[in-house]
């Protein structure tokens, strides 16, 4: 039974891809609206395609170079480290790692490119659908978004499963307990692509947004998305390349890295299971993949059958309904999988309860944590609650108090975030410990850490759905732009405005979800790193190398570890500084060009001349690609330099403290930015009043102050924050792959 269940992984992966293709066909077959809409849609599509082509060409070149370097370095170092251990020396480790890296990079690129191709075609169709029906518009946008969601999760699942299976088939001397270590290259490849995709896309989108707004809205006083603004198309393109392609790459990486990390932790349980003679010990290694497969199936059901509702319903309700269906079915799948795969013979855990039940509870903790984050993010960034109201009130005394207040809110959000993560970790660790998975040789209880792995898996079961909701955001944002730009009828614009507001919320939710998963994953990947280091050290001990001891603890009181931790905490600030500055530099280039067009083409303002949109798109593309290099290199180089200078124990400290610092700073940036954004919207909706009860709406000084806050928040929440998610996971995969380099 447990073995049959393993087959579900390729089956669910392929079904999900087929379903994504069906959704793509369905979306593409829909009405594209009147010619004016189609024209705008075409311009956006061309701009996005051009950027993505150039961006992914650059990334592909970088990835191939990196793969070659990694392959050679690993071959040199790891063969030396494990030279006398026949089990691993039989396989060409360097080549296998490099190949896995390339496959990971390719899958990530493929899901990004295809997903975006669909999303830039869904926008105009959503706008067209909005001319007829709200529900139809929701369906088009959600189905377009789901293409990304399914591709990301399915390709990552199939990639990990495929390489795992392939390597075991090709090299008979690779045991199942070594195989997970050989596929970490896949995760590294995915992180590598994600880093540049998120940085390049994030810089593009916010530079275009800030740059065109500063000239159009602030200097010329014309509305957002006005066709007279030469930067407007770049702005619309940016929504796709940043929010959509960037976040897809981010979650592709999460999915891959966390699957691999959980499989590595499964190895420890596998050893106990084989020693004890339980049936199907390898089920403990495959478990993470099977759980994710059930998550995919649950999402297919939700997207296919539950995205429907009434015309006068709040569109958020429709999306929420689908989410709860996904989560509910996931619980069932989780229970079934743990029951089938976590059989421990006659052994039971604490209170005589079976091990699988304890792990099922741990998985529920993970699911609940993701739900908690959905509500936490809403409280801090949605208009009705205290934080956003506070920022709006502070806007009355000008931009300075708006910024001070927003900063305080951003900082404040770390409290409930950290406490929730802390509770989830301790609870799932405790539940795992109760399962009673004790290694009889060493006396170590490996259930605790595996419990946190199961919680992570539980949380990630709904990834495809969350990602679909996330991509819903840029599609509806674009649909609104298309409607405005093509001067569509008022009814359609009203619907796209409502969807856009919902899209802002779903985008914020995804960030909360991404943060939560990154933090749980951190602890998991950290443990995987320690396991990997000990695998190498163990080989050295077996080979008779003198003075080698296993790494049983990471000692913060060691000066090298402390300094590495300090450098890691610094890295997240420094990296964010580079990312934020890159937005500023790129925006400056756009501002100069848009101003030039207004000055040299005086007919633009009275619609007698058409601005040169393509030129702005081109300038933004070049600047964003140039600016993504520096932060990217810093992120890749820092852990390697620390490892080479300070050693493998210091790297563990680097990893742990870097994760903590990165997760918290990302929380500050994402939530602060989201709150500023919605404080502006709160004022625009007429909710702010002066002491005499008069509404302070659009055009008031308070609104101008709130616009400043919104602009400040843009690079925080859409460039630096999301890039930090990637950074956190990148340092984990990079050190996992290069661990042999840090061991002398």
């Amino acid at each position: 039974m447990a073995q049959t269940l393993q087959l579900l992984v390729p089956i669910a992966g392929i079904v999900a891809i087929l379903f994504a293709l069906y959704l793509a066909r369905d979306v593409l077959s829909r009405d594209k609206g009147p010619q004016a809409m189609q024209d705008v849609g075409d311009i956006i599509r061309e701009g996005a395609d051009a950027f993505v082509k150039r961006q992914y060409t650059t990334i592909a070149v970088l990835a191939v170079v990196a793969a070659v370097v990694i392959g050679i370095v690993i071959a040199l170092v790891e063969n030396e480290a494990v030279a006398d251990v026949p089990k691993l020396a039989g396989a060409p480790i360097g080549a296998l790692t490099a190949f896995a890296f390339l496959v990971g990079a390719a899958c990530s690129m493929a899901s990004g490119i295809i997903g975006m191709t669909i999303s830039v075609r869904s926008n105009v169709r959503t706008a067209a659908a909005a001319r007829r029906s709200l529900v139809e518009a929701v369906q088009v946008a959600m189905r377009g978004g789901a293409v990304s969601g399914f591709l990301v999760v399915a390709l990552s699942l199939l990639g990990v499963w495929g390489i795992f299976t392939l390597y075991q088939a090709l090299f008979s001397d690779i045991g199942i307990e070594q195989a997970p270590f050989l596929i970490v290259g896949f995760g590294f490849g995915a992180s590598f692509v994600a880093l540049f995709a998120q940085l390049g896309g994030g810089i593009y989108t916010k530079a275009a947004d800030v740059g065109s707004d500063l000239v159009g809205k602030v200097e010329k006083g014309i509305p957002e998305d006005d066709p007279r603004n030469a930067g407007v198309i770049a702005d619309l393109v940016g929504d796709n390349v940043g929010d959509c392609a960037g976040r897809g790459a981010d979650l592709f990486e999460s999915t891959a890295a966390e699957n691999i990390g959980a499989m590595i932790l499964g190895v420890a349980v596998y050893k106990i299971a084989s020693d004890a003679g339980w049936a199907n010990p390898e089920a403990w290694i495959f478990f993470p993949l099977v759980v994710r497969a059930f998550g995919l199936l649950a999402t297919i059901v939700a997207v296919a059958f539950f995205i429907r509702g009434k015309e006068d319903e709040d569109p958020m309700n429709i999306l929420n309904r689908g989410y709860w269906v996904t989560a509910g079915l996931s619980v069932v799948g989780l229970g079934f999988t743990t029951y089938v795969m976590m059989q421990t013979g006659t052994a039971t855990g604490a209170n005589g309860m079976p091990a699988w039940l304890w792990f099922f509870f741990a998985g529920i903790v993970g699911l609940l944590t993701s739900v908690a984050f959905v509500y936490i993010t809403q409280f801090y960034t949605a208009g009705g609650f205290r934080p956003v109201r506070e920022i709006a009130e502070a806007s009355k005394t000008g931009p300075a108090t708006n910024i001070i207040s927003g900063t305080a809110v951003g900082y404040e959000t770390t409290a409930v975030t950290a406490i929730t993560i802390g509770i989830a970790l301790i609870a799932s660790h405790w539940l795992g410990e109760q399962a009673g998975l004790v290694n009889t040789k060493t006396g170590a209880n490996v259930g605790g850490i595996f419990g946190t792995a199961v919680a992570t898996m539980g949380m990630l079961m709904t990834t495809a759905y969350i990602l679909a909701m996330d991509t819903f955001g840029p599609i509806t944002d674009n649909a609104g732009g298309v409607a405005e730009f093509s001067r569509a009828e008022a009814g359609a614009r009203e619907i796209t405005d409502r969807l856009d507001a919902v899209g802002n919320t779903t985008k914020a939710l995804t960030k909360g979800y991404a943060i939560a998963s990154a933090s749980l994953a951190a602890f998991l990947l950290f443990s995987a790193y320690i396991d990997k280091v000990n695998l190498i050290l163990g080989n050295q001990i077996e080979a008779g190398k003198q003075g080698v001891k296993l790494l049983t603890s990471v000692n913060l009181a060691n000066v090298n570890v402390f300094v590495a931790a300090l450098i890691a905490a610094m890295l997240v600030y420094f990296f964010s500084s580079l990312a934020i500055r890159a937005v500023g530099t790129t925006a400056q280039a756009i501002i100069v060009e848009v101003r030039r067009q207004f000055r040299e083409m005086p007919g633009i303002m009275d619609y007698t001349q058409k601005p040169d949109y393509a030129r702005v798109v081109d300038i933004t593309t070049r600047a964003a690609l140039r600016e993504m290099v520096a932060p990217g290199i810093v992120a890749v180089a820092a852990p390697i330099i620390v490892g080479l200078l300070l050693g493998y124990e210091a790297v563990a400290g680097f990893l742990m403290v870097g994760t903590i610092a990165g997760v918290l700073l990302a929380t500050v940036l994402n939530n602060g930015g989201g709150a500023w954004d919605n404080a502006k919207k709160y004022i625009e909706s007429g909710n702010l009043k002066d002491e005499n009860g008069n509404v302070l709406g659009k055009g008031s000084d308070a609104h101008a102050a709130a616009v400043v806050g919104d602009t400040v928040g843009d690079p925080f929440k859409d460039t630096a924050g999301p890039s930090l998610h990637v950074l956190v996971k990148l340092i984990a995969t990079i050190t996992l792959v290069l661990a042999p380099l840090f061991i002398r």
Copy 2:
């Protein structure tokens, strides 16, 4: 010889206090200028005295309550933990800790109150001296500031030495190796007072600054420090209570905590020295105090003889000259002290070099680090360099880009800060290891960590001088205000303006210095915490308690430690959020009152009515004292809760990661704020030009944008940042004192 040298501690302390009294008398005997100046001076003095009286009354009550609680808790818990160990059980540990706490609190309060009393009397005398001579004005301000500097360092030295000597004299069963642990209460008392002094003062000063500027400068368009602004006196009072009393308490705490931490580390060396039969083993424990005594003497020479120069000289040169004299004499004192006190008989360190020489080098590393920080801070916050220029340029496109750019600069400054600290730690640790202080029983080389202690001591030798320069800042700032307010002659105002600019630089330097010392100290206090925990665990083992093991490493892979680290990193954001919000709330109260006065007393604008300054001072006082409570309680409670819930190893992780996160966030806030401030000044000095070469000065849109950045930076750099310094050291002393509570 080594024993004679120990006598230098009380002698230098008393000499420094006498010298401070001489300086105070000298300053007070000077000319107070015309009646108009004296009137303003009187109002400021009354406001400051009123605030300090109420603030310190509140703090005193809190401190007495805390002392009683601490005494009782420690008595209950520690006696239980060490019940069967006669050596310590003979002394009433709870009472001794509580007494030390009260003495520490009292000394800190005394140095704060006396220092401020002099500084609010120096301002008017500096303004009066500026009517005659630049050099005389520098002398008055520097001497007034030096009163604080000497009192802080001397009282902390005498306090630690006095309690240490007293406890040994009173209880013959307290060995010299236990005594340092009993005086940690002194450090805790100092931290406790510092926390509230810095928070209350920081909130007061920035709320008054922001509040009166927003109404006066922005709404009414009248200059800063204009007598028509009802908030102006509160602003001038704020400079004294925040910058002067707050920073004094901050550095008093540093001095005390670091002395005690270094003495605790000296205990480990003492044991080696006694086992090996070296002469004067207790010299290793007294060493930190003797080095500091030499630092005091060096500063006396510099202040007495080297604060002089030419009328047309840059005043910064005069102050720098004094600093270099202090640093140079400190090197001599350091060399002499290490040579006399660090004698190891015939044993030598690496390369056959004597131990004292290696430690002398480690001390030099500390001195060089403090010099490096002086230059780093200048690069990032002074007008001539790239960072400030970048912010000024960004102001051309409005407040949003100004804020984005300033944030990027603030984040960027963490890089060089962390790398410098890392190099200092690793270098001094390495140098200390070379000294060859190996415990023959355990094989542990205790020299490394003692090397970092010596580096910290080296860095802190110049504290009194640095603090004098720091207090120079608020005195000259106030002198400028007094000159403006009393409409003094242009020549005097020109001189006070020059001094004010220098004061801004020295204030920024002190913050860099405080950060550097906090980070080095963190590693030291962290080690002291481990020593203390092991003292208790060792007692339990000696008493035959089962299952107890010494704490040899702090394992980040332990889930409790990881969660504690996460909470610690969160705490620094949450605490800053509360502090920043407190400024906003207090400023709001001031804005309402100043607006009311303008509205209800129409004669103010044409000078026919006098605003009610006292009322604003009173409102600010009450609001600031109310608002300091929440962040203060959070800071005190968090480490205790973590310790009780997660245990003593988790506390170690909390301490370490909290320090790292706190130091880096303080760097971001201090330097970002400083850079914004100086970007505004850069524009006001006419250095910013548009593309056609026209100056964009005061009154331009760029200047308005820079004012927004400056206002945002105010609570960052003068409330939250400095309060974080205190927080970092508070969590160290609090956990050091309460360690027995966390051991089950």
